[in-house]
Symmetry: C3
Subunit: 350 residues, 3 copies
């Protein structure tokens, strides 16, 4: 796909400075972009690149005053960053809307119902009784078990696995290799030391606009549902255990894990490699810093936690400063102890 600079300016409601006839076909960073690319300048720190860039066109602010001549066309807009983001979205939309139809062989049980605009990649599997909305895209080697419901415009990338009875909303993205609905980790200890598997009969419910990262794993509930609310974004290799509930618009970064039956509030942020133990309640708007291990419920909103076990970030960092100096502190304590021994008590003086 190629567009002229003028066409893009039109799309963004901007004005062209320089040639509007040239064609661009890709996007790039201002310092790296070559001919045929369009880029943007939002941060004044990077202005120097504007005078040397090889990009065909650059999106800049209406306010920008040039300090030298440029070799590129300019598209002047109100807010270069958001204009560029919009361009990215359009580009992405055009790319992802290319996929429709069926690549053979693929498997779809005759009882499956689906809306228009379905894409089924080769070797994708859709089990009996599943219901797919409009514009759903199932990439190659993806597996959709029995009685799965998938809403409009949801994309299931290559090799993702959706267990039977999962419910997925609309506009969700399940990245490659993610597993949704695997059995919760439930085993009942027996008198002989062995464990008996507790059947996991519940399911997973993903509401609308949920994103699940590559190779993440979301377990089904023992009974009832593991629930991922609207707008939740989950990164790669994250573990969500059985009967967990994640509140609306919460973001969970890579390799974090949430243990069974814990409820995470709305608009929380879990940074990378965080662990939250089971059966807790985490208040809305809690931020949990990278590698923290949360071992207690958080009742007050808006806290920032770190450490393992985690407590408030500012307190942790103050303690950590002293931790780094512990050998010195220990030495000072020993010196004091020696000094005290050399001091006689008042009684001894009298």
């Amino acid at each position: 796909m190629k567009f002229t600079v003028a066409q893009i300016a039109h799309l963004l409601g901007g004005t062209v400075e320089g040639s509007g006839e040239q064609e661009v076909h890709t996007l790039g960073k201002i310092e790296e972009a070559g001919p045929g690319s369009i880029s943007f300048l939002a941060n004044p720190k990077y202005e120097a690149h504007l005078y040397t860039t090889r990009a065909t066109a650059v999106i800049v602010s209406r306010e920008l005053e040039l300090k030298k001549g440029v070799h590129t066309s300019l598209i002047r807009v109100e807010d270069p960053y958001s204009s560029f983001t919009r361009l990215l979205e359009e580009y992405h939309r055009m790319l992802s809307f290319q996929k429709t139809g069926t690549e053979d062989p693929c498997f779809m049980h005759q009882s499956v119902s689906h809306g228009e605009g379905l894409y089924r990649g080769a070797f994708s599997y859709i089990g009996a009784g599943s219901k797919l909305g409009k514009g759903v895209k199932i990439y190659p080697n993806a597996y959709i078990g029995e009685n799965v419901v998938i809403g409009d415009n949801t994309i299931i990338l290559a090799g993702a696995k959706i267990y039977p009875d999962t419910k997925i909303g609309s506009n969700c993205t399940i990245h490659a290799g993610a597993v949704v609905g695997s059995d919760g980790f439930g085993f009942a200890p027996q008198p002989d030391g062995s464990y008996k598997t507790i059947p996991q009969l519940g399911n997973v419910v993903l509401e609308d606009w949920v994103s699940i990262g590559a190779n993440a794993a979301i377990d089904c509930a023992t009974m009832g549902s593991t629930i991922i609310r609207k707008g939740v974004k989950i990164d790669n290799l994250v573990q969500v255990a059985h009967n967990v509930e994640i509140g609306e618009n919460t973001v969970i970064a890579a390799q974090s894990g949430v243990a069974g039956s814990t409820k995470i509030g709305r608009s929380c942020i879990l940074a990378g490699q965080v662990g939250v133990i089971g059966h807790l309640q985490i208040a809305d708007k809690t931020t949990i810093a990278a590698q923290a291990g949360v071992g207690k419920s958080i009742k007050q909103e808006g806290k920032v936690l770190i450490g393992s076990p985690a407590f408030e970030r500012d307190d942790y960092l103050k303690s950590y400063v002293v931790f780094k100096n512990l050998p010195d502190l220990d030495k000072r304590l020993k010196q004091l102890e020696e000094k005290i021994i050399n001091l006689r008590s008042p009684d001894e003086h009298s």
Copy 2:
């Protein structure tokens, strides 16, 4: 599948109070279950729900004395919790025994041997020389390499990958996306700073009743076998490196990792996100708390460890209490130092 309340009471050796003719088709929690569901009441704390539940039937203790009228049928048994668990198992068994036969296309080399009751999902792959027992179920998109041995009633879920030469016992479950037998991470440093791959020629042996979680990875041995003993339960996203041995009935929670050549004893518990470095021996019945990092062999049985590097849990928590107060402790030490300066030594007095 539907059953009458009377049929279920018969299965559990219980007695019906109320209508035995009604049908139930699903299971649910007493506070959430709707018509057509069966639930249970084990914890007296939840008794209030018994008088308001919409479940068609509830399993209760023979001893329970009703305080009000109920709108549900009761099935009275000795132990409601274990009766309900038994029901879960039966239900699960019926569901999982549904799958037999072959979905086309799938791939099985002509040299493969297998017992009766095999299920092969579409796009599953079974390599040359592999031997499968009775009742084995290979879900869609699963890959079984060459010369793999799989015992009776083992289930390989969607998209799991079993490398060549792996040996899997009977009654095992390998969840979706798990990889068993991948190359160990072995590289020999070269004089020029690069690394040469050390071929990994061993295999993985899973004994009977082993469970491997979704997207977990179990590496093969460099030579010999990585061994997961009978009854071991491994959760999602766990890493087990080459030449590791995990003792009988040990349980490893999500996102934990065990580095190369370490031997974990029997009946150990590794909580989530635990790390154990290589070439260690961990005694039987060791418990390792979440996020702990074990850097030394554990010789005595029954220890509980936490921290990174890990030491005994009670000691760690005592230290951690002081850690939280370190800024205060530091201040107190400074105050003492100042006081001491203001105190003259006895010699100065005389």
Copy 3:
């Protein structure tokens, strides 16, 4: 494949002591190997096994002086360990070169170009416009998106997923279930608390001799490329975020994660479960110990870091020794405080 002892001796440039006619078909440890195996003795500590081993042949040093009779053939070489490693490599090479041709059904778009010696496993997918070098092996259920470039002799194991536009060098190995090129985790917060997906339009570039572990995830760049340089070895379940760059010959052990836009230098070692936050620069030859969390750029080469947040290992371990004694230190401080109260100040004496 079977070889005579004499054939192997010839391959290694060694000399046979005992029968050269016997056949071996596998490799094993000296203490475990049975008839038909070849083993080696490099460490004098294990010499006792030489006199009892059931291996058909053992590779030993030219210098070794036997203390008793042996029941096995010997192959005498300069350096038994490196000879055995060479044998491992040959064995591995022979095994992996067995795979060529096409197993049906598999999917390859008509626009794909490839060199000779291609292996395509059943249910593998190769998207439009992709270009594959010589001797490339695509295992069953692997997915190669559109416009992917793969160099000579690279192996893509079962069920690995390579997103569109990825570039992979020659002699790389991508293990089962690994995902290369998944969308970076980029979301722009909106005024209503929801997040809007920032399209990820870049790609991943793997240079030559790169290894990616089972179920690892390497995200594509937002724009430009996530770059994994020549000779980098990445273990299982590792997360590499968007726009990261990993320098030549760096090794990253299992379950580590590197957040967005961080640049890791050359010849670094990241042990298991390490986390590195985003937008950092890590100097060449940095070693990061297991479970460390790196929160600041490292400017000086050759440092060894540990802790979360990480600092220099020796300092950390000294602090950690005191940490373990904190309850005692706290008690000592209290005792001092009490003593000081009992001491009157000099003024009080006068």
